[in-house]
């Protein structure tokens, strides 16, 4: 021990040079494996259950039967559509955290059509109106903060967030208008006996959202990568000044992109209400408007990678409820495991960009 080594910190963080693809994935793999090991230790320590059994149970929860597999795929699709909707806005550095409200208001529009037009128009017309109104409602919900931002440069994080609560209160209001029976605060399945306004089954009742998700994924991928619009979004996201200098109408890009973002959210609302639940509640979106933010970021706005990230989150969520049933563990325990996994995955991005060099001592002598 000499004076010099004592002054030197134990380790210091150094920015990495460009990392190869291989190295990136190696770091990610190490992160996931260490997360699983840590989870195992925690499972064994706190519950005494066999970690391997728990992991098996998580897997069975997502893929244990044909129905479970379909439900898992359906849930992935919904989360994926919402995440895809948010992505162009994020890429433009426009912080749209109003996905929750945009989906919800789209769902409300669908429910309104099902209830109010159900007995007046033929089924096909009702569905057509549902598609138009829910997509339009989602778009309008996104348009308001976009215009505020484009015109007066207001903080979109706040305005999109606020719009969520307005949508939620509107839904709460209409639930009381439409509740059955009176006073129950529930709408129940809309048109349960006539199935008017229910989106048609394609093959089976789980397939439609999956097809829609596939189409939307392909669309966003092409839109971002190969169109002029996509290029403009990327430029605005990189630097507003560059965009201005290049002659891009920034305001127009913001408004146009948010309209698209909101419209796809509205579509997700249509699927949730018309295709899956056939009812509307204030919690029907189940925070996926926020989870979508994480899905999108984890995938670095790449639509194809988002299939993997939304899969991961839905897989853990489905597995979580299975272990709470199979092992009598509280749902919160499963949330802890998911939290650990996400922490490692998000944390490993740090190690992709930076490296930690420990004090070696040798260099100094």
């Amino acid at each position: 021990m000499n004076e010099r080594t004592q002054k030197e910190p134990l380790f210091h963080v150094v920015k990495r040079d460009a990392v190869s693809r291989k190295m990136e994935w190696a770091i990610r793999a190490v992160a996931i494996i260490s997360a699983l090991i840590l989870c195992s230790v925690i499972i064994a320590m706190f519950t005494g259950d066999n970690p391997v059994e728990i992991y098996r149970s998580i897997f069975l929860g997502a893929f244990g039967s044909e129905r479970k597999t379909w439900i898992t795929l359906q849930n992935i699709s919904v989360l994926l559509i919402i995440s895809l909707a948010l992505t162009p806005a994020f890429k433009m550095q426009f912080w749209n955290i109003g996905g929750e409200g945009q989906v919800l208001i789209g769902g409300l529009a669908s429910a309104a059509c099902m209830i109010c037009l159900g007995e007046k128009l033929p089924n096909g017309m009702v569905i057509l109106f549902m598609i138009i109104t829910s997509v339009a409602a989602g778009a309008v919900w996104a348009l308001i903060p976009a215009v505020l931002k484009a015109r007066w440069n207001t903080n979109e994080t706040l305005s999109t967030l606020m719009m969520n609560y307005i949508a939620m209160q509107l839904v709460a209001y209409y639930i009381i208008v439409w509740e059955v029976p009176k006073g129950s605060g529930k709408i129940g399945i809309i048109n349960q006996n006539t199935a008017i306004g229910w989106l048609p089954n394609v093959g089976n009742k789980y397939l439609l959202p999956i097809i829609v998700a596939a189409v939307v994924t392909a669309f966003i991928y092409i839109y971002q990568k190969y169109t002029k619009h996509g290029f403009e979004i990327a430029v605005v996201g990189e630097s507003r000044n560059t965009a201005l200098y290049a002659g891009i109408k920034v305001e127009q890009v913001i408004v146009r992109t948010m309209l698209l973002s909101g419209a796809i959210c509205g579509l997700a609302g249509l699927i949730l209400v018309g295709g899956i639940n056939h009812t509307i509640t204030t919690t029907i979106v189940d925070s996926q408007g926020f989870t979508g933010v994480m899905v999108s970021w984890l995938a670095k706005f790449n639509p194809i990678a988002m299939i993997a990230t939304s899969f991961l989150i839905v897989f853990m969520d489905r597995g979580a409820s299975e272990i709470s049933t199979a092992f009598g563990l509280n749902q919160s325990f499963a949330d802890i495991l998911t939290g650990i996994l996400l922490f490692f995955i998000i944390g490993c991005e740090f190690f992709i960009r930076y490296k930690v060099s420990f004090r070696t001592g040798k260099e100094r002598h």
Binding site: L10, S184, G188, I276, A326, G328, L342, F343
Partner: protein, 432 residues
């Protein structure tokens, strides 16, 4: 809520990682800290573990191949669901059948999915505990005609025409009436001791929604109190949620400030009872005793005991008998119960309750006897209630039979449909 949970989980994970790296670096202090935290959590873990162990044991000890699946809206942290969860375990263990508990199932397509998953897993009976599960249980029942789907608090089984879909409830209005008797006795004690005048005998009631089940509950509670304390009046406030601790606490405080000298509730959190304990106002709770948290103000609590129903449906399925569309438990089936009295109960309450209970069972008194209350100043001689649920709330059945409102009557349905506004009860807000 869910976000908060995720955030907490994330924060906990972060704390653990930090403490682990600290340990790796050789920090003794950090090691001690993390061991302490681990100890705390470990102390709680065995309780959760036993739950799982029990369910696995029940599987091995099964005396028949029947398996029962249960769907609950929340987990055991909600008093409402805990009441069902305990009953489910007790009934299945007594009958020696295997059971699966699914907690935290929302009132949406998730309920249909859960019901179908339970059916796929070989359950012969699938039960759901929350009102909003009903439509999704019906969807599942249509798909699995050979499996019995049973649902508490629902209203549609008698009109749906499905032989494998059933509703169940209990005459909890009788339990509330008896709890009301205890309340009336307490008010009489306050009047006799000069603490309040007869005119000041005003009770407060924290309700969830302006739904028939709640209206039936507070009206029967009021009539029970009125049967022993004729000058009683009551104010009711609604929270717009079945579980909202803050709103229920606020509601109770508003009522107390308004001059209510006794509080009761029909919502599932500890909000109202704890507000009463703080303010020193006597309280009648619901779903189970709150004596341990509120030792000075707890009088009594009514609850539905679901064990008799669960035993009944298990037995029926094992013997291949049909389960009726509507099953209504009552005092005689052991479905309606009062807890033992708390220290705040007035003297003679036990006897008064026993007497009223005997009279109810004998049929010599009826909770909604039309001679005991008025509506807009007049006796109610005829009333059509919305028994067959429809979107327009169309009244469809005459429910005044033999001089009383036949709540949950055998000719109608098990779920309450009493929605008459009895004189003497003031609703402070009806937004929900």
């Amino acid at each position: 809520m869910k976000n908060l949970k995720k955030l907490l989980a994330l924060a906990m994970a972060a704390a653990m990682v930090v403490s682990m790296t600290a340990c790796a670096a050789g920090g003794k202090g950090a090691e001690g800290g993390s061991a302490g935290a681990a100890g705390d959590t470990a102390a709680e873990a065995p309780a959760a573990d036993n739950g799982g162990g029990d369910s696995a044991d029940a599987g091995k000890a099964a005396s028949s191949d029947l398996k029962v699946g249960f769907i609950f809206l929340h987990d055991e942290n909600s008093t409402y669901d805990l009441n069902f969860i305990n009953a489910a375990k007790e009934a299945c263990e007594a009958a020696g059948v295997e059971y699966v508990l699914k907690t935290g199932i929302p009132e949406g397509q998730e309920c249909y999915d859960a019901a179908c998953e339970l059916a796929d897993a070989g359950c012969g009976i699938v039960f759901a505990d929350s009102f909003g599960h009903e439509d999704y249980m019906i969807e599942a029942a249509k798909e699995y005609p050979n499996i019995q789907f049973c649902h508490a608090t629902g209203t549609k089984a008698h009109t749906e025409g499905l032989s494998n879909y059933h509703n169940a409830f209990a005459t909890i209005f009788q339990g509330r009436y008896l709890a009301g008797v205890a309340a009336g006795m307490k008010l009489n004690e306050m009047i006799d001791s000069g603490k309040i005048t007869a005119d000041q005998a005003k009770m407060g009631y924290v309700g969830a929604y302006t739904y028939a089940e709640v209206i039936s509950g507070y009206s029967s509670f009021y009539l029970g109190a009125k049967s022993v304390c004729p000058s009683v009046t009551m104010e009711v406030t609604f929270t717009g949620s079945w579980y909202d601790e803050t709103a229920e606490k606020e509601g109770a405080n508003t009522l107390i400030q308004d001059g209510c000298v006794l509080i009761s509730q029909h919502a599932d959190s500890m909000g109202a009872p704890t507000a009463c304990e703080t303010a020193g106002v006597p309280d009648i709770s619901y779903n189970g005793s709150t004596e341990s948290a509120c030792p000075n103000t707890f009088i009594v609590s009514s609850r539905i005991n679901w064990v008799p129903y669960f035993k009944y449906i298990i037995d029926a399925v094992e013997k291949g008998e049909t389960i009726p569309a509507d099953w209504t438990g009552d005092l005689s089936t052991g479905s309606v119960e009062l807890t033992s009295l708390g220290s705040a109960a007035a003297e003679g309450t036990d006897e008064a309750i026993e007497k009223a209970k005997a009279d109810l069972e004998a049929g010599t008194i009826h909770v909604f006897d039309t001679k005991t209350f008025t509506v807009e100043g007049k006796e109610l001689t005829s009333y059509e209630a919305d028994v067959d649920t429809d979107a327009d709330y169309t009244p469809d059945h005459e429910v005044i039979v033999n001089g009383y409102f036949d709540e949950s009557g055998a000719d109608f349905r098990s779920a309450p449909f009493f929605n008459v506004q009895v004189d003497g009860i003031t609703l402070l807000d009806t937004a929900y």
